[in-house]
Amino acid sequence: MDKQIKKLLETAIELDPKLANAHFKLGVLHQSEENFDSAVSCFEQAVTLDSTYPEAECELAIELRRSGKLEEAREHFLNALELDPNSVKTYFNYALLLIELDDIEEAKNNFDKVAEIDQNFAPAYFQKAKLLTNPDDFEQAKKNYETAIDIDEDYLEAHYFLAKLLMGGKATNTDGSSANKKDLKGAKFHFSRVLLLDESCSKALYNLGRIHFEETDYRKTKSYLTKALKLQPNYSKAHYLYGKALDLGGEHQKAVHHYKKSIDCFSDNPKALFHLGKLQFLNKSLKDAEENLRLSIQLDPTNPKSHYYLAKILSHDDDPSLAKKHFYKALELDPDFANAYFDLAFHSEKSGDLNEAKIQFQKATDVDQNFAEAYFNLARLSSSPAEYELAERNFETALEIKVDYDECHYFFGKLLAKGERMSKDGTLIIEPQLERANEQFKAAIRINPDNFKSHFQLGLLLFKQKEFEAAFASLQQAIQINPEFAEGHYQLAVLLMDERAQKALSKKKKTARSHKTAKAS
């Protein structure tokens, strides 16, 4: 049929080459056959022959836009609009051109004009909504997408982009403050509609996976992502998210595989490189971890966590300054990174800089006032008599936050048992607080009965308090838990060589002997 029409139109032009309408119609036919160059020449002929032909001006502009001749296209769109100021098609396509020319505001005005002329022209609402990306325009964008869908309920793209908008939820209140209008339920609904319209839409599947990931439903996340990856095996983002879901679910080896796939599909991938590096660090593959974290930093130097994990790896190096540099960088990027202060403190302690270590532990407690481990370690390092009060206060704070902190009870007990503190005039005062120390060691044992050191320290304390039987029992317990504990054996020997202890234990010794005899008989 088209061929016949084409032949007739060509004959008509042969007979009368000045027949503008024939040129136009032939151009439309070429357009439908995707023979764009021929279409352009036909439309050009049409507008040359008839300078008052708005449809030809519009189609010529559309084709010129398609071929990248944007300024020429603009000229012909304006001609068309001058000739026919009510053409929906011209306004709409002109608006699309304006987007390409980066004149967004004018594009919006043109989409509005389209909607004004034809209230049921769904693409105009959709395209305008796409331009409303500022958080201030959240509601307006949502309204436009919804209108597009109201007009055409099978408008796939409108469903998809509305779902994306609802998933992000970045908006502002009337007073200008930021608001979170995230609506995951709504987003899920629209992504599902997309899938109903096109079940091969891998992006919708990926985004549904993302929503379930946010809802910490990793099983469903994996299910959607599996489908997305089946449709598009080189989908980098889907591999990355799958990796994260596996990572959080404890399936580290599989996660590593997906992070690697994500990087294979898209190499400039700092997030996947970071997570891969982090997992390799946790799996003690330090060389690979270092390589990937360095690459991640190269691509995105603003991720404090990449610097943090790299610093943790470098802290094993002989040169302490290498790790320090990255700890400091992490803290420069995120001054509230409590764990970075905490690990920097350990690193400083390891390299012998105790003052720096104390400062960093202190900062960790400033940033996170519930960081029991930081208080504990700060107290542990403040072991000199001059810092006795500080250590005591920090041990107490750590134990207020984390009551079942056996190591803290143990070290606090040691501090109290030693009882060495400096008075204001600088004299050394030795006042062991044996009862309080006793309580701390007992608490440590209650929490962790297998901690032989707590039994040992309690034994020494009881020996000091002349409770020889109890001291003997505690020291015995220590060497029973750890039979290789030389100091425990030694202190038992010291106890048993003490005359007072011998006297006190003689009764027990006799009982033990009589039990043995009874057993033997």
Partner: protein
């Protein structure tokens, strides 16, 4: 594990687990010396010092063990090493004194006791040892002074008091009456003018009384 009350079991096990444990090694060597197993102590201590760290306390014990075996050169050598590490250790200085005393070097023995005394708050035993060494007639004044200090530290010690009395009497006998030190007479009268202990032998009581009378008859001396 069977419950044991024998400290040696624990001590030996501690050393098995950590053969370089200095406190345990010290205690074990001390135990051997107390049980007169001197040769074993020497072997053990030499082995420890050669294989692990040099230690003044262990060197001191080694010197004591050598002394018991009458290996004086080795004992002196060992105590000298100990002193090079801890020249102000009373225990080591005492061992050095005992060695010198054992080989009859009274002068050096006294020298070590003086070093102990110079470190402050000497024990009654050290003062008695010192007094014991001062057996020459020319040293009786010093001996009496030292015994006086020892007695003031432990006034219930009868033996010291007898020795003090004996020292005074020897001093009085060995010096011309007119040349007696006024301070010595005052000290003597302070102790015995009003009271002469019943546990003194009759001879000693008599002698003390005689000297009291003598001094009272010569008030110019006082």
């Amino acid at each position: 594990m069977a419950l044991s009350y024998d400290p040696l079991n624990y001590l030996r096990r501690s050393l098995e687990l950590n053969p370089s444990h200095q406190d345990a090694a010290y205690m074990y060597a001390k135990y051997l010396i107390q049980n007169r197993e001197f040769l074993e102590a020497v072997t053990y201590l030499n082995h420890f010092i050669n294989n692990f760290e040099e230690n003044s306390r262990l060197r001191n014990l080694l010197a004591q063990a050598f002394l018991q075996l009458e290996k004086f050169d080795e004992a002196q050598n060992s105590v000298n090493i100990a002193l090079s590490h801890t020249p102000r250790s009373i225990n080591v200085l005492h061992t050095a004194f005992v060695i010198k005393k054992a080989i009859g070097d009274k002068f050096s023995a006294l020298h070590f006791l003086e070093r102990i005394v110079s470190l402050g708050d000497p024990s009654v035993e050290i003062l008695c040892e010192m007094a014991d060494l001062l057996d020459c007639t020319t040293e009786l004044e010093r001996k009496s002074n030292i015994l006086d200090i020892a007695y003031s530290i432990n006034p219930k010690n009868r033996e010291i008091f007898v020795q003090l009395a004996d020292s005074f009497l020897k001093y009085f006998k060995n010096n011309a009456f007119e040349e007696l030190n006024k301070h010595m007479i005052e000290m003597f009268l302070d102790h015995f003018k009003k009271y002469i202990p019943a546990y003194f032998s009759i001879e000693l009581q008599k002698e003390v009384n005689q000297w009291i009378k003598k001094f009272k008859g010569q008030p110019a001396l006082l």
